[in-house]
Symmetry: C2
Subunit: 313 residues, 2 copies
């Protein structure tokens, strides 16, 4: 099952020729979620081959323009595309007011419904839950109310090992029971332990988006064990003081969060336009956390399935 993150924008507030403000798409098994929506996001979606009609929901971390100005043109265009299914936007207050103004002035005849769900930025809350996914808010420390998002795959159901099916000559009903996690008890009194014949097909995977924020040990704890961590690095290590005063992070801050969270990989982005050489920022992260990568626009970071336990003995 695919689990990936595609970077649509990696710039901070001042635009440059080559880079776009914050926006990403999380794809879990063809469920597409937009995370932040900087200006130009609709064009960036098309450029990366992602049909905007396929977006299931949008998550806005905070109401600074470089994280949300692109949602309004996207809302309008989805109307032109004839979208019929509702679109849910998770965003901090007062996004509802802003959205209502947008609809009143620009989209009075939208053919689909938009639902706003308030993200309370001081709380670690379950925002979305379905068969395969949970999305949680992560309180962040920025100049305005801001939340990160944790995409956590649900533990996939148990599989029964083919070799064990043959070995024990399991019936369909025994296999079904095993998949539910039950031991097999036969009329003969024979007992087959569930753990001997089943395995978790792959470990539940997770992705965390933490932008914009100062260093936050609390956020690191909330995303503990995350497979892929996006953490903003607006500034180089030498500008740590500037980063702190502006509610942002340096490369060192991001690497420290990755270490504390025991993340497997770190993606860095939201770069200040002052940095022409992003490798310098990357190298600063890698000194502390070797599995660091630049959130290059257009790059897709895939979290591979990883079998946790094979029952075969």
């Amino acid at each position: 099952m695919a689990f990936s993150v595609t970077i649509l924008g990696n710039a901070s507030a001042k635009p440059t020729i080559a880079s776009h403000p914050s926006a990403q798409v999380v794809n879990l098994n063809e469920q597409y979620y937009l995370v932040d929506a900087g200006e130009g996001v609709q064009q960036q979606l098309i450029r990366r081959g992602i049909n905007p009609l396929r977006l299931r929901a949008v998550f806005i971390s905070h109401l600074h323009g470089d994280h949300c100005f692109g949602i309004f043109p996207l809302i309008s265009t989805l109307g032109l595309y004839g979208k019929r299914t509702p679109l849910t936007i998770y965003a901090p207050a007062p996004f509802g007011e802003i959205l209502n103004n947008h609809l009143r002035y620009f989209d009075t005849e939208l053919p689909y419904e938009i639902k706003w769900v308030e993200v309370r930025t001081t709380e670690h809350t379950l925002l979305v839950q379905n068969n395969t996914l949970e999305v949680w808010s992560i309180p962040l420390r920025h100049r305005v109310p801001t939340a990160g998002f944790l995409f956590r795959e649900k533990q996939p159901p148990l599989n029964v090992d083919k070799w064990q099916i043959t070995r024990h000559n399991l019936t369909i009903s025994e296999i079904t029971a095993a998949k539910r996690g039950e031991d097999i008890i036969r009329d003969t009194g024979e007992r087959i332990a569930n753990s001997d014949i089943t395995y978790i097909p792959y470990r539940a995977r997770s992705y965390a988006y933490l932008s914009d924020t100062n260093y936050s040990a609390k956020a690191a704890e909330l995303v503990k064990g995350v497979d892929l961590l996006y953490h903003e690095t607006t500034y180089a290590s030498a500008e740590s003081r500037t980063a702190k005063s502006r509610g942002h992070s340096s490369t060192t801050d991001a690497a420290k969060v990755a270490l504390r969270a025991e993340a497997k990989r770190l993606i860095i982005g939201h770069f200040s336009s002052r940095y022409k050489d992003l490798n310098m920022l990357l190298n600063e992260c890698r000194e502390l956390f070797s599995e660091s990568y630049i959130a290059e626009e257009g790059a897709t970071f895939t979290i591979e399935e990883e079998r946790v336990k094979a029952a075969t003995k």
Copy 2:
């Protein structure tokens, strides 16, 4: 003196990978004016080497998103750039309300002032007047209140021909009088006719922006004799009925306006995303009006100075 128009966007409402929604910059002698501001305009300005801080004013034709969604990120970024001088935005009502909402939610601490001047879209009004330029509104026929804009260079002051200065041995005060348009009358009774020694250095030039609109004979009359005419061609000639029903123009409509206005050149744009081959649209225009050109993104159309009359005999 430079007089040019740079195309920043030529698409209509649905964005494509390659094209941006409506936006142009008019440059008259290093006075820069933004005409419409579709999404991404700030990045398009930078891409074309135009410093957004140099914009003297913005003209918004109407309040459809593909003509104005880019103004809000631009307003924010100009604040980040530390702009201090006021920015005037000419736009139809209720742009003032929309602007106030933007400022309240996103730009409470802007370091410069924004002035909104209402464009009454049913009137042909002088909006801007300075030493070198007039900008007039042109009522258009769209689904919502819409105005085009006519940029008209002021007639440059008379020059005195160098050869005539030598020939008549003109004094400084005689030259000054001649530049004011006066005849020279000497103590000897000698009279030198102004028209014999002066010339208009070049004909006053003009540019008209007509988008979005149905065919309008009235608009054509109001821009009569224009050097460069931008007219929307959302649709091909075969889609004239669709064009008409949606408040847009076909290639034929645009060419007819150019003919009626006796324009020297026609630029076409605001293309529906359905047309992959813009040359087809161009050829349709050229059948009626040979001096037709595609508003290619990044193209600059220069209106050259043209000496009207040389006095030298």
